[in-house]
Symmetry: C2
Subunit: 408 residues, 2 copies
């Protein structure tokens, strides 16, 4: 148990400043920020300039610094920092979900090699302590699925669209003005940001390292006014939902917008809140809701990681050790409602189990089970909107053939 940690920050944007204030206001742990490395020499900084440096080596090669706190935007540069920090015997705290998702297996191996931990609670659903809970609490529970709302910006946009009947463009604009959206809004609205988080969560839930490219992500950018009308008429809301489940050693996962009945637990998760539902064999259904982004909530999660370093906490990746035979697979089908204008884009033969097609609101609709690879094809085309049906019927191909519902 060490009571005084010396920290070096990389980055001093929204998250860095949040953590700075959180550290100043807390009294439970003693941690001193020795240096803050930033890129832009001309930006006016809100605190005394002496603490800033423009040289990475002032932190990475500084023997007094125990912990590197990485909070920059650029995923490639961030990974280089993490690698160098571990090589130099420093622990790392980071919230960079893209960097983590793309390099998680390497980061796992680097931790083993250099014996120093990388903690990243803030990277998955901000203030929700989901990784720590997956690592610690569910270590002996047989988890069957994890799902939720892993992106606050799109949830904010969809909440505004449904509750205030805002149009899509206005809602997106408002979210960006309030600082919720990523600096590149495509990461949010196209479902990349929640996919990065899902990839990280899958490692801690099922012990599988999956590259984000493997996971199919649909966004909310193709949702049309016609879809919104359909949802309202049926009493549904739409949320951008992630889901992964395990069956016979295979892990399946997907990011996509979904119609939700009002009784669905996720339907009541509003604005910038995130949610995670973990389904375990013994604990049954568990829901966690909290702020997924923002300066203080993210800072709070990072503070918690820094605090954990005082007692030498590290992720054990227990499930990886328990069952290293799980592999990620896209050999699954999911039930969707597809809407489109141009009849040549979609045909009943595209479905593995076609349920029906009809016309309405000047649009074509088709409903049925479709393979994930077909979903990926459609998502690359303009003029097709794909929304999952309220049941989130994502099942393995084997299951569809047996005509048995997999997950209630």
């Amino acid at each position: 148990m060490r009571n005084n940690l010396t920290l070096g920050f990389f980055g001093f944007g929204c998250v860095g400043q949040g953590l700075y204030h959180v550290l100043a206001e807390t009294h439970g742990i003693k941690a001193t920020i020795q240096k803050i490395c930033v890129k832009n020499r001309n930006k006016i900084r809100p605190i005394s300039s002496e603490i800033f440096t423009y040289e990475k080596s002032d932190i990475l090669d500084n023997p007094e610094i125990d912990v590197v706190v990485e909070m920059i935007d650029d995923a490639t540069a961030a990974f280089d920092i993490v690698k160098a920090a571990l090589q130099n015997g420093k622990s790392v705290v980071t919230a960079n979900k893209r960097m983590l998702a793309e390099h998680l297996e390497e980061i796992y191996q680097l931790q083993q090699r250099y014996g120093k931990p990388v903690l990243y609670e803030a990277a998955v659903c901000g203030a929700i302590p989901i990784l720590r809970n997956l690592e610690e609490y569910y270590d002996n529970d047989l988890i069957t699925s994890i799902e939720g709302i892993f992106n606050g910006s799109t949830n904010y946009i969809l909440t505004k669209v449904f509750e205030e009947r805002k149009n899509y463009a206005d809602a997106l604009k408002q979210a960006q003005e309030l600082g919720f959206a990523e600096s590149d809004p495509r990461l949010d609205v196209k479902g990349f940001d929640p996919k990065f988080k899902l990839a990280i969560a899958i490692a801690h839930t099922f012990g599988v390292f999956v590259k984000p490219d493997q996971i199919i992500n649909l966004g909310i950018d193709k949702i049309s006014e016609v879809d919104l009308k359909f949802a309202r008429e049926n009493g549904y809301t739409i949320k951008l939902v992630v889901r992964a489940f395990k069956e016979n050693g295979k892990v399946y996962g997907l990011v996509a917008p979904q119609f939700l009945e009002p009784t669905n637990l996720l339907a009541s998760v509003r604005n910038e809140f995130n949610a995670v539902i973990v389904q375990g064999a013994f604990s049954e259904k568990q829901l966690f809701v909290g702020k997924g982004a923002g300066s203080y909530p993210t800072g709070s999660a990072m503070l918690s990681d820094i605090s954990a370093l005082t007692y030498d906490y590290h992720y054990e990746y227990k499930k990886r050790k328990q069952k290293d035979s799980n592999t990620f697979s896209n050999d699954a089908v999911v039930e969707v409602l597809v809407s489109f204008n141009d009849k040549s884009l979609v045909s009943p033969q595209d479905f593995e189990d076609f349920k029906g097609g009809y016309q309405g609101h000047g649009n074509q609709y088709m409903n049925g089970f479709v393979g994930l690879e077909k979903l990926r094809e459609w998502s690359a085309l303009e003029g097709i909107s794909i929304i999952l049906t309220p049941q989130f019927n994502l099942v393995s191909r084997t299951h569809l053939k047996q005509r048995q519902p997999l997950v209630a």
Copy 2:
């Protein structure tokens, strides 16, 4: 890190059998049950009789047993078992909320004296990992309040009453048949069970040991058909809610039924589910929802405690060490709607801030802020139903005088 723990069980009812099965089905930890001590020699047991004993000393004085798992009903006998186990150098896992609430300070001291941990995640909201999160994750966050639905039986009853328009007596009967209710249903419907859990949660949230007698608890047993009608007409539901908050070194807490707006996060927590909302200065609002009772969810939480013992986990009671100046106080007022038949029972002078009175549905109503001690007086009388208003305006007397809302 020890991989094989030897366990001695006390009790083999619903929880004991749940844990037995959970242990048999999990493969992450190795723990062997050596003996199960039960009271009733004539009961037919679902597993081989050789493992059973009727002598406490077969477990407590057995040097091979590392962990005593206490799962009996009787709080006094349970405390004796816990004490003896610690004295004999054994760790303890228990789910006995009444025993814990009544003896928590002694149990804290016994742990310090004998250097062995007592873990009790299952005692507060079953499968929800709230204690571990309060201990670990929020250790440096400044928590301002904790609230939630801490009793599954009453939540089940109220859900049935509101959603299926069941009458109160039928719903209670159904809950008991399904095994949700405590063996003594008064512990549930009069709000004692959630009070025990709140007392334990307060210790881990604010570092204060409070005897359950100090916390005022109203139940759902005095709710009348008239109250239900009032709720329905106003679009409210009613939940049995607990709440504690901190202000200027004082901790205030209460268990009471409350009218809830449909947008309240707790309103959507249905059936036997429990919920906890933690409000922190940095992490902001966090919600946890999960099963609060039942054989497997409780067993799952106890399994997690057993698993934690393999790496010598113990509660640090960090907040007690951080701020031992907090004290519990009932010097607070809360906004209520009181309904009654007999005009002599309640008068406007009983309120510290009387807002209004009226008649309807053949009943008298009064609304306003009332002191907690007056609430305690009223709760002992027949013919008065007290329900908190949707805002859960529990504020210190000082605050009421300043006419400032304390908690949003």
